[in-house]
């Protein structure tokens, strides 16, 4: 070997426990980026051999064979064949097998072994296989395959040292040889795989009884749906109920920082910029970090436990009615956290039209960036009480209703699109259903940490920048004595122009002002209002002491607040989503279409809400 750091790729079937193994090997030393040209996530990390020599590891998307059915599977093939642009061919492979599913996973392993790279097989999740009544003989398997086989239990960090030393040995002793012709993934390959699995299996009892027992309840045609609905309802209630104390603490922290800056710096332009622009704006968004983390916690738990595929199974029938497939359920549910990873996850949908429709409706799923807006308005205008003697909170119920409107809207839009511009044959739905697993706190914590970091980095960049620009636009030109600064400023005048358009749907000057910078990201609407209010309250002790919600309460009618909520169910105000749609659909046509139809819907929804509310006397 030369002095270069060897790069090792983890490959295997979906659900082989590859990511857990990758997390166990690299710990937090990971870097998530995209492959150049394609938007498939590239997960890379570092580890070292027992003697301290460093190695680099990459975690490739799970696939069933080297013949790809989707974009991310194509990346796996291209990387192991050394064809992926910007990625050198790995020096060695770790083929990850689910010990409890050998006869299927060995097919892909045989294909990979034929490539002729130094290879070690990780016989993963051996503990679960044993719980399932399987006794395996790793040495026999190793003899059959002709490469080292190392039993691993990634979640307990068992077998990691042995795995690394085996891969070291495989690289050192590797004799370069011609790759044999790749075996076709067909009947004969399956027969070979099954034959090998049979001889490597010492003892076997009937399959997965535990998972089947749970599935009988969870996949029940009626009961299963009820469980799914209850789970989602609990999730959205929890976002509210648990986030209170940490959010208050963060808010207090921002307030303390503002006071500290006011006390420390002399009164000048810079101090105003920091206190009214940066701290008020960024602070107003950062307080929603707890809610976003709780939402992600649920999504990560559902995914890691294996429940997500069950949800897709249950929803497939409904989604087929509107021309989609259960495959789309996972990207759409991820879109509740953020449409950007959601739209990226649509790459697993093989059918083009199905995929396009899923991309176009993904922004209708209530993403976490809308939470700050919803949370602010709901807290200010919806009374915090229980609904008629039940333990259900009214605020949580309204939030649930907003999420539900997005979902119903998405289904209707999909139905129309699949019969008009995205017409095509009914999409297929083929998926493996993983067995249930205990989510591992380490994997969940790592996932949460990565999300938190992405959110904070966004707050530190896009949101900080737009708020500062907005603050400047709001602060100049200086209003003469007796006139409102916000009204007199450049931003105020632009907003007055926009107000003409949005007045019919009940929007006031505050909202018109917030809508423009919110094009960058929805949560900026909140920071924009915070900044405008901070400037408005300049010097007024009483006004400064009020929270943003309290200030809005005094200025908006309930009808306006409700219309504002309805607007954000649909409005496509997020530059990142538009950009990712452009990249994923290779052009401006579809993102433009998406923005257009969503703004129309937003306007109609806000208008209908406002006029209805006014008719009921809430104006």
């Amino acid at each position: 070997m030369t002095g270069a750091i060897p790069s090792i790729a983890l490959v295997g079937n979906p659900n082989a426990g590859k990511s857990s193994l990758f997390n166990a090997l690299t710990g937090a030393r990971q870097k998530i980026a995209n492959y150049p040209g394609v938007t498939v996530e590239r997960k890379a990390g570092h580890a070292s051999f027992a003697d301290g020599r460093p190695i680099s590891l990459i975690d490739l998307p799970g696939t069933y064979s080297l013949t790809p059915a989707s974009l991310d599977e194509a990346v796996t093939r291209d990387v192991v064949l050394g064809r992926q642009e910007g990625e050198k061919r790995p020096d060695a492979l770790i083929v990850v097998l689910d010990a409890a599913n050998l006869d299927n996973h060995l097919c892909f392993a045989l294909e990979l072994l034929a490539l002729g790279l130094p290879t070690v097989v990780a016989l993963n999740m051996l503990d679960l296989a044993e719980r399932d009544g399987l006794t395996l003989d790793p040495e026999r398997l190793s003899r059959e395959l002709g490469v080292p086989v190392v039993p691993t239990v990634a979640v307990r960090k068992r077998g990691l040292v042995e795995l690394l030393s085996a891969i070291d040995g495989a690289i050192q002793s590797h004799q370069p040889r011609e790759a044999v012709a790749a075996p076709r993934n067909d009947v004969s390959l399956h027969q070979r795989a099954r034959a090998i699995a049979r001889v490597a299996t010492v003892d076997e009892t009937p399959v997965r009884r535990w998972t089947q027992r749970v599935d009988r309840i969870v996949l029940h045609p009626v009961g299963g749906l009820v469980i799914l609905l209850v789970l989602m309802f609990v999730m959205f209630q929890a976002v509210y109920a648990w986030a209170g104390p940490p959010a208050d603490a963060l808010e207090g922290l921002v307030g303390t920082m503002q006071q500290w800056v006011v006390a420390t710096l002399p009164e000048n332009f810079l101090r105003d910029l920091i206190v009214e622009g940066l701290l008020a704006g960024v602070g107003a968004v950062v307080v929603f970090l707890p809610q976003i983390l709780i939402l992600f916690l649920f999504i990560l738990l559902l995914e890691a436990s294996g429940y997500m595929t069950r949800a897709a199974f249950l929803m497939d029938g409904l989604m087929a009615r509107v021309g989609l497939s259960g495959r789309g359920f996972i990207p759409l549910l991820s879109s509740f956290a953020c449409a950007v990873p959601g739209i990226m996850a649509t790459r697993a949908i093989p059918d083009e039209k199905d995929r396009l429709t899923t991309i176009l409706i993904a922004p209708l799923m209530t993403c976490s960036a809308r939470l700050p807006v919803y949370a602010l308005i709901i807290a200010a205008f919806i009374p915090d009480r229980l609904v008629g003697g039940t333990p259900v909170g009214l605020q949580g119920l309204v939030l649930f209703g907003l999420y539900l409107s997005g979902i119903v809207g998405a289904l209707v839009v999909a139905f129309v699109l699949r019969r008009t511009i995205a017409k095509g044959s009914a999409a297929g739905f083929m998926m493996e259903m993983p067995r249930y697993q205990m989510p591992q706190w380490r994997d969940i914590a790592l996932g949460l940490w990565q999300r938190a970091w992405i959110f904070l980095r966004r707050a530190g960049t896009i949101i900080a920048m737009t708020t500062v620009v907005l603050w400047l636009l709001l602060s100049f030109p200086k209003a003469p004595e007796g006139q409102s600064q916000v009204e007199y400023s450049v931003a105020g005048r632009i907003a007055s122009g926009l107000e003409v358009i949005v007045k019919p749907i009940g929007f006031n000057h505050d909202i018109a002002l917030a809508l423009i910078p919110a094009m960058a990201a929805r949560e900026v609407a909140v920071s924009a209002m915070a900044t405008a209010n901070a400037i408005d309250a300049d010097g007024d002790e009483d006004a400064m002491a009020q929270s943003l919600g309290e200030r809005l309460q005094g200025k908006w009618s309930l009808a306006t607040a409700l219309a504002f909520l309805a607007w954000f169910v649909f409005a496509p105000q997020c530059i990142s989503t538009i950009a990712i749609t452009r990249r994923e659909t290779n052009g401006w046509k579809w993102p433009m279409f998406m923005v257009g139809y969503l703004f129309l819907l937003a306007y109609a929804a806000a208008g209908t809400t406002y006029w209805t509310a006014v008719a009921f006397g809430l104006g």
Partner: protein, 83 residues
């Protein structure tokens, strides 16, 4: 009488006797084979989708559980496993 998988009773193991590969796209056919669904293998239909349409079908193949749509299941002929 040819029995097709989409009408098969749940919970009863059957053997695949023939698959009409022409009734599905190449990709769908390949994915079926990757799941291990091919002539001669034994499967057990387990669950049908929710009340919305009872469509997707979950079945066990070996130690794996997979989901397919009724449309593909209708292209799969099955026979009882001789006792």
């Amino acid at each position: 009488m040819i029995a097709l998988l989409d009408k098969a009773p749940l919970g009863v193991a059957v053997r695949i006797s023939r698959i009409d590969w022409g009734a599905m796209s190449q990709d769908e056919g390949r994915r079926l084979r990757e799941f291990g669904l091919m002539e001669g293998c034994e499967i057990t239909p387990r669950h049908r989708g929710s009340i919305f349409s009872r469509d997707p079908l979950a079945l066990t193949v070996g130690r794996m559980q997979v989901i397919i749509r009724a449309k593909q299941a209708a292209a799969i002929e099955i026979e009882p496993i001789a006792a």
